[in-house]
Protein backbone atom coordinates (compact mmCIF):
# COMPACT_ATOMS: atom_id res chain seq x y z
CA UNK A 1 0.00 0.00 0.00
CA UNK A 2 1.21 3.47 -0.73
CA UNK A 3 0.07 6.99 -0.01
CA UNK A 4 -2.27 8.51 -2.60
CA UNK A 5 -1.29 12.16 -2.69
CA UNK A 6 -4.14 14.66 -2.50
CA UNK A 7 -4.25 17.41 -5.10
CA UNK A 8 -5.57 20.91 -4.33
CA UNK A 9 -8.65 19.98 -6.37
CA UNK A 10 -9.39 17.07 -4.08
CA UNK A 11 -9.37 19.38 -1.09
CA UNK A 12 -11.39 21.99 -2.93
CA UNK A 13 -14.07 19.37 -3.47
CA UNK A 14 -14.16 18.59 0.25
CA UNK A 15 -14.23 22.31 1.01
CA UNK A 16 -17.19 22.61 -1.33
CA UNK A 17 -19.14 20.40 1.09
CA UNK A 18 -18.45 22.88 3.87
CA UNK A 19 -19.63 25.71 1.61
CA UNK A 20 -22.80 23.73 0.99
CA UNK A 21 -23.29 23.34 4.73
CA UNK A 22 -22.78 27.09 5.18
CA UNK A 23 -25.40 27.77 2.52
CA UNK A 24 -27.77 25.45 4.34
CA UNK A 25 -27.12 27.24 7.61
CA UNK A 26 -27.90 30.58 5.91
CA UNK A 27 -31.09 29.19 4.42
CA UNK A 28 -32.24 27.78 7.78
CA UNK A 29 -31.31 31.00 9.62
CA UNK A 30 -28.98 29.08 11.94
CA UNK A 31 -26.77 32.15 11.96
CA UNK A 32 -23.61 30.10 12.25
CA UNK A 33 -22.40 30.24 8.61
CA UNK A 34 -20.01 33.13 9.24
CA UNK A 35 -18.30 31.40 12.14
CA UNK A 36 -18.21 28.16 10.23
CA UNK A 37 -16.48 29.70 7.21
CA UNK A 38 -13.99 31.56 9.37
CA UNK A 39 -13.22 28.37 11.29
CA UNK A 40 -12.75 26.44 8.04
CA UNK A 41 -10.46 29.16 6.71
CA UNK A 42 -8.51 29.21 9.97
CA UNK A 43 -7.99 25.48 9.99
CA UNK A 44 -6.79 25.62 6.37
CA UNK A 45 -4.25 28.35 7.06
CA UNK A 46 -3.11 26.82 10.38
CA UNK A 47 -2.66 23.30 9.06
CA UNK A 48 -0.92 24.37 5.84
CA UNK A 49 1.40 26.56 7.87
CA UNK A 50 2.07 23.70 10.27
CA UNK A 51 2.80 21.43 7.32
CA UNK A 52 5.27 23.95 5.93
CA UNK A 53 6.93 24.50 9.32
CA UNK A 54 7.21 20.77 9.93
CA UNK A 55 8.68 20.26 6.46
CA UNK A 56 11.47 22.70 7.24
CA UNK A 57 11.88 21.25 10.70
CA UNK A 58 12.09 17.66 9.56
CA UNK A 59 14.80 18.57 7.11
CA UNK A 60 16.78 20.61 9.60
CA UNK A 61 16.40 18.55 12.83
CA UNK A 62 17.84 21.53 14.65
CA UNK A 63 17.32 21.19 18.41
CA UNK A 64 16.81 24.90 18.90
CA UNK A 65 14.08 25.15 16.26
CA UNK A 66 12.33 22.10 17.68
CA UNK A 67 12.51 23.49 21.20
CA UNK A 68 11.06 26.75 19.95
CA UNK A 69 8.09 25.05 18.31
CA UNK A 70 7.52 22.90 21.41
CA UNK A 71 7.55 26.03 23.53
CA UNK A 72 5.01 27.76 21.29
CA UNK A 73 2.74 24.70 21.51
CA UNK A 74 3.03 24.65 25.29
CA UNK A 75 2.29 28.37 25.67
CA UNK A 76 -0.82 28.12 23.52
CA UNK A 77 -2.02 25.09 25.49
CA UNK A 78 -1.39 26.93 28.78
CA UNK A 79 -3.39 29.86 27.48
CA UNK A 80 -6.21 27.57 26.46
CA UNK A 81 -6.41 25.98 29.92
CA UNK A 82 -6.65 29.42 31.51
CA UNK A 83 -9.28 30.59 29.04
CA UNK A 84 -11.53 27.69 30.00
CA UNK A 85 -11.57 28.54 33.71
CA UNK A 86 -14.63 30.32 35.01
CA UNK A 87 -12.72 31.33 38.14
CA UNK A 88 -9.10 32.08 37.47
CA UNK A 89 -6.24 32.43 39.86
CA UNK A 90 -5.10 36.01 40.06
CA UNK A 91 -1.70 37.01 38.78
CA UNK A 92 0.81 34.72 37.13
CA UNK A 93 -0.78 31.67 38.79
CA UNK A 94 -3.75 31.80 36.41
CA UNK A 95 -1.47 30.94 33.55
CA UNK A 96 1.30 29.23 35.46
CA UNK A 97 -0.59 26.37 37.12
CA UNK A 98 -1.93 24.96 33.84
CA UNK A 99 1.26 25.57 31.86
CA UNK A 100 3.52 24.10 34.52
CA UNK A 101 1.44 20.95 34.99
CA UNK A 102 1.27 20.45 31.24
CA UNK A 103 4.98 20.98 30.92
CA UNK A 104 5.68 18.40 33.63
CA UNK A 105 3.29 15.78 32.34
CA UNK A 106 3.33 16.17 28.55
CA UNK A 107 7.05 16.76 28.17
CA UNK A 108 7.87 14.10 30.72
CA UNK A 109 5.71 11.42 29.12
CA UNK A 110 6.75 12.35 25.57
CA UNK A 111 10.47 12.23 26.32
CA UNK A 112 10.02 9.00 28.23
CA UNK A 113 8.25 7.28 25.37
CA UNK A 114 10.66 8.63 22.77
CA UNK A 115 13.73 7.41 24.61
CA UNK A 116 12.53 4.23 26.30
CA UNK A 117 9.69 2.95 24.14
CA UNK A 118 10.08 4.08 20.56
CA UNK A 119 13.83 4.47 20.87
CA UNK A 120 14.34 7.20 18.26
CA UNK A 121 17.82 8.65 17.83
CA UNK A 122 18.25 11.44 18.42
CA UNK A 123 15.26 11.43 20.75
CA UNK A 124 14.18 14.89 19.60
CA UNK A 125 13.75 13.81 15.97
CA UNK A 126 10.86 16.10 15.02
CA UNK A 127 8.92 13.58 12.95
CA UNK A 128 8.19 11.74 16.21
CA UNK A 129 8.51 14.43 18.84
CA UNK A 130 6.18 17.07 17.41
CA UNK A 131 3.15 14.88 16.59
CA UNK A 132 3.42 13.00 19.90
CA UNK A 133 3.76 16.19 21.89
CA UNK A 134 0.85 17.71 20.00
CA UNK A 135 -1.41 14.75 20.75
CA UNK A 136 -0.41 14.83 24.39
CA UNK A 137 -0.80 18.54 24.90
CA UNK A 138 -4.16 18.59 23.15
CA UNK A 139 -5.52 15.84 25.36
CA UNK A 140 -3.92 16.62 28.72
CA UNK A 141 -5.11 20.18 28.21
CA UNK A 142 -8.68 18.93 28.40
CA UNK A 143 -8.17 16.91 31.55
CA UNK A 144 -6.27 19.65 33.34
CA UNK A 145 -8.81 22.32 32.38
CA UNK A 146 -11.72 20.19 33.64
CA UNK A 147 -9.93 19.24 36.87
CA UNK A 148 -8.89 22.81 37.70
CA UNK A 149 -12.31 24.18 36.91
CA UNK A 150 -13.88 21.55 39.16
CA UNK A 151 -11.48 22.38 41.96
CA UNK A 152 -12.09 26.14 41.95
CA UNK A 153 -15.84 25.82 41.45
CA UNK A 154 -16.28 23.37 44.30
CA UNK A 155 -14.00 25.34 46.60
CA UNK A 156 -16.05 28.44 45.84
CA UNK A 157 -19.34 26.70 46.48
CA UNK A 158 -18.04 24.69 49.43
CA UNK A 159 -16.52 27.55 51.39
CA UNK A 160 -18.69 27.01 54.48
CA UNK A 161 -17.83 23.33 54.55
CA UNK A 162 -14.10 23.84 54.08
CA UNK A 163 -13.96 26.52 56.75
CA UNK A 164 -15.97 24.37 59.15
CA UNK A 165 -13.28 21.70 58.83
CA UNK A 166 -10.50 24.24 59.34
CA UNK A 167 -12.28 25.52 62.45
CA UNK A 168 -12.30 22.04 63.94
CA UNK A 169 -8.54 21.95 63.58
CA UNK A 170 -8.08 20.11 60.32
CA UNK A 171 -5.20 21.03 58.03
CA UNK A 172 -5.77 22.58 54.60
CA UNK A 173 -5.06 19.34 52.77
CA UNK A 174 -7.58 17.39 54.80
CA UNK A 175 -10.16 20.18 54.60
CA UNK A 176 -10.15 20.22 50.80
CA UNK A 177 -9.39 16.51 50.36
CA UNK A 178 -12.77 15.33 49.09
CA UNK A 179 -13.06 18.26 46.71
CA UNK A 180 -9.63 17.51 45.34
CA UNK A 181 -10.51 13.87 44.75
CA UNK A 182 -13.73 14.86 43.02
CA UNK A 183 -11.93 17.32 40.72
CA UNK A 184 -9.32 14.72 39.76
CA UNK A 185 -11.96 12.14 39.00
CA UNK A 186 -13.75 14.60 36.71
CA UNK A 187 -10.50 15.33 34.88
CA UNK A 188 -9.76 11.66 34.30
CA UNK A 189 -13.18 10.47 33.19
CA UNK A 190 -12.89 11.61 29.52
CA UNK A 191 -9.71 9.63 28.86
CA UNK A 192 -11.02 6.58 30.70
CA UNK A 193 -14.15 6.70 28.57
CA UNK A 194 -12.10 7.19 25.42
CA UNK A 195 -10.01 4.12 26.22
CA UNK A 196 -13.08 2.03 26.97
CA UNK A 197 -14.86 2.89 23.71
CA UNK A 198 -11.83 3.03 21.40
CA UNK A 199 -12.33 0.88 18.32
CA UNK A 200 -15.92 0.04 19.15
CA UNK A 201 -17.68 3.33 18.75
CA UNK A 202 -15.14 5.33 16.84
CA UNK A 203 -11.96 4.77 14.94
CA UNK A 204 -9.50 7.09 16.70
CA UNK A 205 -8.31 9.96 14.51
CA UNK A 206 -4.67 9.11 14.59
CA UNK A 207 -5.23 5.49 13.60
CA UNK A 208 -7.53 6.58 10.78
CA UNK A 209 -4.85 8.91 9.48
CA UNK A 210 -2.19 6.23 9.58
CA UNK A 211 -4.36 3.72 7.77
CA UNK A 212 -5.24 6.24 5.08
CA UNK A 213 -1.55 7.02 4.72
CA UNK A 214 -0.89 3.37 3.96
CA UNK A 215 0.26 1.84 7.24
CA UNK A 216 -0.75 -1.76 8.00
CA UNK A 217 -3.80 -1.63 10.30
CA UNK A 218 -2.11 -3.61 13.06
CA UNK A 219 0.84 -1.21 13.14
CA UNK A 220 -1.61 1.68 13.25
CA UNK A 221 -3.42 0.01 16.14
CA UNK A 222 -0.18 -0.40 18.08
CA UNK A 223 0.71 3.24 17.67
CA UNK A 224 -2.80 4.21 18.65
CA UNK A 225 -2.48 2.15 21.82
CA UNK A 226 0.84 3.75 22.65
CA UNK A 227 -0.67 7.19 22.20
CA UNK A 228 -3.71 6.36 24.31
CA UNK A 229 -1.67 5.04 27.19
CA UNK A 230 0.59 8.06 27.00
CA UNK A 231 -2.40 10.37 26.98
CA UNK A 232 -3.89 8.59 29.98
CA UNK A 233 -0.61 8.83 31.89
CA UNK A 234 -0.06 12.44 30.85
CA UNK A 235 -3.59 13.50 31.74
CA UNK A 236 -3.38 11.74 35.08
CA UNK A 237 -0.02 13.21 36.05
CA UNK A 238 -0.92 16.64 34.73
CA UNK A 239 -4.24 16.75 36.55
CA UNK A 240 -2.66 15.60 39.80
CA UNK A 241 -0.01 18.30 39.50
CA UNK A 242 -2.51 21.01 38.59
CA UNK A 243 -4.96 20.11 41.34
CA UNK A 244 -2.22 19.82 43.92
CA UNK A 245 -0.61 23.16 43.08
CA UNK A 246 -4.03 24.76 42.61
CA UNK A 247 -5.42 23.56 45.93
CA UNK A 248 -2.29 24.62 47.81
CA UNK A 249 -2.62 28.06 46.27
CA UNK A 250 -6.17 28.33 47.67
CA UNK A 251 -4.69 28.42 51.18
CA UNK A 252 -2.08 30.71 52.67
CA UNK A 253 0.70 30.06 55.16
CA UNK A 254 -1.76 30.13 58.10
CA UNK A 255 -3.97 27.61 56.28
CA UNK A 256 -6.76 30.09 55.63
CA UNK A 257 -9.04 29.52 52.65
CA UNK A 258 -8.20 32.40 50.31
CA UNK A 259 -10.94 32.62 47.72
CA UNK A 260 -9.84 36.20 47.11
CA UNK A 261 -7.02 34.64 45.12
CA UNK A 262 -9.59 33.73 42.48
CA UNK A 263 -11.49 36.10 40.27
CA UNK A 264 -14.61 35.50 38.24
CA UNK A 265 -14.06 35.49 34.51
Amino acid sequence: MSLISLSPWDLALAAGLVLLLAALSWRLHLDIERRMLIAAARSTVQLVLLGLVLKVLFEATHPLLIALLALVMLSVAGWEVMARQRRRYRGAWGYGIGALSMFLSSFGVTVLSLTLIIGVTPWYQPQYLIPLLGMLLGNTMNGIAIALDGLTRQAWEGRVKIEARLLLGEGWSEAIGDIRREALRAGLIPIVNAMASAGLVSLPGMMTGQILAGSPPLEAAKYQLLIMFMIAAGTGLGSVAAVWIGSRRLFDERERLRLDRLRMK
Binding site: G158, A164, G169, D252, E255, D260
Partner: protein
Protein backbone atom coordinates in the same frame (compact mmCIF):
# COMPACT_ATOMS: atom_id res chain seq x y z
CA UNK B 1 -5.57 35.26 84.97
CA UNK B 2 -6.23 36.32 81.38
CA UNK B 3 -7.65 33.48 79.38
CA UNK B 4 -8.16 35.26 76.08
CA UNK B 5 -6.60 38.54 75.02
CA UNK B 6 -7.02 40.44 71.77
CA UNK B 7 -4.23 42.96 71.19
CA UNK B 8 -4.76 45.44 68.38
CA UNK B 9 -6.66 42.82 66.41
CA UNK B 10 -8.06 43.98 63.08
CA UNK B 11 -9.42 41.97 60.14
CA UNK B 12 -7.57 42.76 56.91
CA UNK B 13 -10.51 41.95 54.70
CA UNK B 14 -11.82 44.10 51.91
CA UNK B 15 -14.16 46.72 53.40
CA UNK B 16 -13.73 45.47 56.98
CA UNK B 17 -15.09 48.36 59.06
CA UNK B 18 -13.27 47.60 62.31
CA UNK B 19 -10.55 49.56 64.04
CA UNK B 20 -7.93 47.61 66.02
CA UNK B 21 -9.63 45.84 68.92
CA UNK B 22 -8.17 45.36 72.40
CA UNK B 23 -10.11 43.07 74.69
CA UNK B 24 -9.28 40.94 77.72
CA UNK B 25 -11.29 38.03 79.06
CA UNK B 26 -10.41 36.15 82.22
CA UNK B 27 -11.27 32.51 82.97
CA UNK B 28 -14.98 32.00 82.39
CA UNK B 29 -15.57 35.65 81.43
CA UNK B 30 -18.41 36.36 79.05
CA UNK B 31 -18.56 39.17 76.51
CA UNK B 32 -21.86 39.53 74.66
CA UNK B 33 -21.53 41.28 71.34
CA UNK B 34 -24.26 42.98 69.38
CA UNK B 35 -24.49 45.60 66.67
CA UNK B 36 -26.02 46.23 63.28
CA UNK B 37 -25.50 43.79 60.40
CA UNK B 38 -22.27 44.46 58.60
CA UNK B 39 -20.67 46.13 61.62
CA UNK B 40 -17.96 43.48 61.67
CA UNK B 41 -18.96 41.16 64.54
CA UNK B 42 -18.47 37.99 62.55
CA UNK B 43 -15.29 39.36 61.00
CA UNK B 44 -13.93 39.98 64.48
CA UNK B 45 -14.58 36.37 65.54
CA UNK B 46 -13.06 35.10 62.31
CA UNK B 47 -9.98 37.23 62.90
CA UNK B 48 -9.59 35.75 66.40
CA UNK B 49 -9.74 32.26 64.88
CA UNK B 50 -7.24 33.35 62.21
CA UNK B 51 -9.65 32.43 59.44
CA UNK B 52 -9.12 35.65 57.47
CA UNK B 53 -5.96 37.71 57.02
CA UNK B 54 -5.65 40.02 60.03
CA UNK B 55 -3.27 42.27 61.92
CA UNK B 56 -2.54 42.23 65.63
CA UNK B 57 -2.05 39.43 68.10
CA UNK B 58 -4.22 37.11 70.17
CA UNK B 59 -3.22 35.24 73.31
CA UNK B 60 -4.88 32.26 74.88
CA UNK B 61 -3.69 31.46 78.41
CA UNK B 62 -0.66 33.67 77.65
CA UNK B 63 0.28 31.62 74.58
CA UNK B 64 0.80 33.75 71.50
CA UNK B 65 -1.24 32.79 68.49
CA UNK B 66 1.74 33.25 66.18
CA UNK B 67 3.67 30.61 68.14
CA UNK B 68 1.15 27.91 67.37
CA UNK B 69 0.38 26.13 64.10
CA UNK B 70 -2.90 27.43 62.67
CA UNK B 71 -4.59 24.04 63.08
CA UNK B 72 -3.82 23.85 66.79
CA UNK B 73 -4.81 27.46 67.33
CA UNK B 74 -8.23 26.91 65.75
CA UNK B 75 -8.84 23.78 67.80
CA UNK B 76 -8.13 25.79 70.93
CA UNK B 77 -10.29 28.85 70.26
CA UNK B 78 -13.44 27.04 69.11
CA UNK B 79 -15.36 29.27 66.70
CA UNK B 80 -18.97 28.29 66.02
CA UNK B 81 -19.98 30.13 62.83
CA UNK B 82 -23.54 31.22 62.14
CA UNK B 83 -23.80 28.80 59.24
CA UNK B 84 -22.51 25.30 59.94
CA UNK B 85 -20.76 23.25 57.27
CA UNK B 86 -21.36 19.53 56.79
CA UNK B 87 -19.54 16.90 54.77
CA UNK B 88 -19.27 13.15 54.50
CA UNK B 89 -22.32 10.96 54.88
CA UNK B 90 -23.21 10.38 58.49
CA UNK B 91 -23.21 12.56 61.57
CA UNK B 92 -20.65 10.16 63.08
CA UNK B 93 -18.09 11.34 60.48
CA UNK B 94 -17.99 14.57 62.47
CA UNK B 95 -17.01 13.13 65.81
CA UNK B 96 -13.49 11.78 66.15
CA UNK B 97 -14.33 9.66 69.19
CA UNK B 98 -17.81 8.43 69.97
CA UNK B 99 -17.48 7.69 73.68
CA UNK B 100 -19.57 8.49 76.75
CA UNK B 101 -18.58 12.13 76.59
CA UNK B 102 -20.09 12.54 73.13
CA UNK B 103 -23.21 10.64 74.20
CA UNK B 104 -23.60 13.00 77.17
CA UNK B 105 -23.14 16.04 74.95
CA UNK B 106 -25.75 14.79 72.50
CA UNK B 107 -28.16 13.93 75.30
CA UNK B 108 -27.90 17.41 76.79
CA UNK B 109 -28.98 18.79 73.40
CA UNK B 110 -31.94 16.42 73.17
CA UNK B 111 -30.42 13.76 70.89
CA UNK B 112 -30.06 10.04 71.39
CA UNK B 113 -26.88 8.34 70.17
CA UNK B 114 -28.84 7.12 67.13
CA UNK B 115 -28.27 10.60 65.71
CA UNK B 116 -24.74 9.48 64.86
CA UNK B 117 -26.18 7.27 62.12
CA UNK B 118 -28.25 10.05 60.59
CA UNK B 119 -27.60 11.26 57.07
CA UNK B 120 -26.01 14.73 57.23
CA UNK B 121 -27.85 15.83 54.10
CA UNK B 122 -31.20 15.37 55.81
CA UNK B 123 -30.57 17.42 58.93
CA UNK B 124 -32.84 20.40 59.54
CA UNK B 125 -31.38 23.85 60.17
CA UNK B 126 -32.00 23.57 63.90
CA UNK B 127 -30.52 20.06 64.08
CA UNK B 128 -27.46 21.29 62.22
CA UNK B 129 -27.01 24.12 64.67
CA UNK B 130 -27.28 21.90 67.73
CA UNK B 131 -25.04 19.21 66.27
CA UNK B 132 -22.48 21.82 65.23
CA UNK B 133 -22.34 22.93 68.86
CA UNK B 134 -21.91 19.34 70.04
CA UNK B 135 -19.21 18.76 67.43
CA UNK B 136 -17.35 21.86 68.58
CA UNK B 137 -17.52 21.06 72.30
CA UNK B 138 -16.43 17.46 71.66
CA UNK B 139 -13.25 19.00 70.27
CA UNK B 140 -12.49 20.46 73.71
CA UNK B 141 -11.71 24.12 72.90
CA UNK B 142 -10.25 26.38 75.62
CA UNK B 143 -12.37 29.36 74.57
CA UNK B 144 -15.68 29.68 72.74
CA UNK B 145 -16.44 32.17 69.98
CA UNK B 146 -20.12 31.90 69.28
CA UNK B 147 -21.72 33.58 66.27
CA UNK B 148 -25.50 33.49 66.67
CA UNK B 149 -25.18 30.05 68.24
CA UNK B 150 -28.87 29.67 69.01
CA UNK B 151 -30.51 31.85 66.34
CA UNK B 152 -32.29 28.98 64.57
CA UNK B 153 -33.51 27.12 67.64
CA UNK B 154 -36.95 26.89 69.21
CA UNK B 155 -37.20 28.14 72.83
CA UNK B 156 -36.78 24.69 74.40
CA UNK B 157 -33.69 23.86 72.39
CA UNK B 158 -32.29 27.35 72.82
CA UNK B 159 -32.44 26.90 76.55
CA UNK B 160 -30.76 23.48 76.32
CA UNK B 161 -27.98 25.00 74.23
CA UNK B 162 -27.50 27.90 76.63
CA UNK B 163 -27.34 25.56 79.62
CA UNK B 164 -24.81 23.36 77.86
CA UNK B 165 -22.61 26.30 76.86
CA UNK B 166 -22.68 27.84 80.35
CA UNK B 167 -21.96 24.45 81.88
CA UNK B 168 -18.98 23.98 79.57
CA UNK B 169 -17.71 27.43 80.58
CA UNK B 170 -18.12 26.53 84.23
CA UNK B 171 -16.28 23.20 83.98
CA UNK B 172 -13.46 24.34 81.71
CA UNK B 173 -13.12 27.95 82.75
CA UNK B 174 -13.51 28.81 79.09
CA UNK B 175 -13.99 32.50 78.22
CA UNK B 176 -16.93 33.22 75.90
CA UNK B 177 -17.20 35.76 73.11
CA UNK B 178 -20.83 35.53 72.10
CA UNK B 179 -22.51 37.40 69.23
CA UNK B 180 -26.26 37.58 69.74
CA UNK B 181 -28.94 39.67 68.05
CA UNK B 182 -31.46 38.79 70.73
CA UNK B 183 -31.58 41.54 73.43
CA UNK B 184 -33.43 39.28 75.88
CA UNK B 185 -30.80 36.61 75.50
CA UNK B 186 -27.98 39.12 76.05
CA UNK B 187 -29.68 40.55 79.14
CA UNK B 188 -30.44 37.09 80.52
CA UNK B 189 -26.91 35.78 79.98
CA UNK B 190 -25.29 38.95 81.29
CA UNK B 191 -27.38 38.77 84.44
CA UNK B 192 -26.69 35.08 84.97
CA UNK B 193 -22.95 35.31 84.50
CA UNK B 194 -21.98 38.86 85.37
CA UNK B 195 -21.03 39.26 81.68
CA UNK B 196 -20.13 42.39 79.78
CA UNK B 197 -22.34 43.64 76.98
CA UNK B 198 -20.57 45.40 74.12
CA UNK B 199 -21.81 46.90 70.86
CA UNK B 200 -19.82 46.85 67.67
CA UNK B 201 -20.66 50.02 65.81
CA UNK B 202 -18.78 52.59 63.80
CA UNK B 203 -15.74 50.34 63.86
CA UNK B 204 -15.41 50.34 67.64
CA UNK B 205 -16.43 48.20 70.62
CA UNK B 206 -18.48 50.19 73.09
CA UNK B 207 -20.47 49.28 76.19
CA UNK B 208 -24.09 48.52 75.39
CA UNK B 209 -26.33 50.98 77.13
CA UNK B 210 -28.79 49.32 79.45
CA UNK B 211 -32.25 49.25 77.82
Amino acid sequence: MTALRLAGLRPLVHAAPLRPVDLELGDGDIVLLSGPSGAGKSLLLRAVADLDPNAGEVFIAETRRSQLPATEWRRRVGLLPAESGWWGEQVSDHFRLAGDEVAALLASLGFGTDVLDWDVMRLSTGERQRLALARLLANGPEALLLDEATANLDPANRERAEVLILDYRERRGAPLLWVSHDPDQRARLAAATDGRRLVVDGGRLQPEEAP
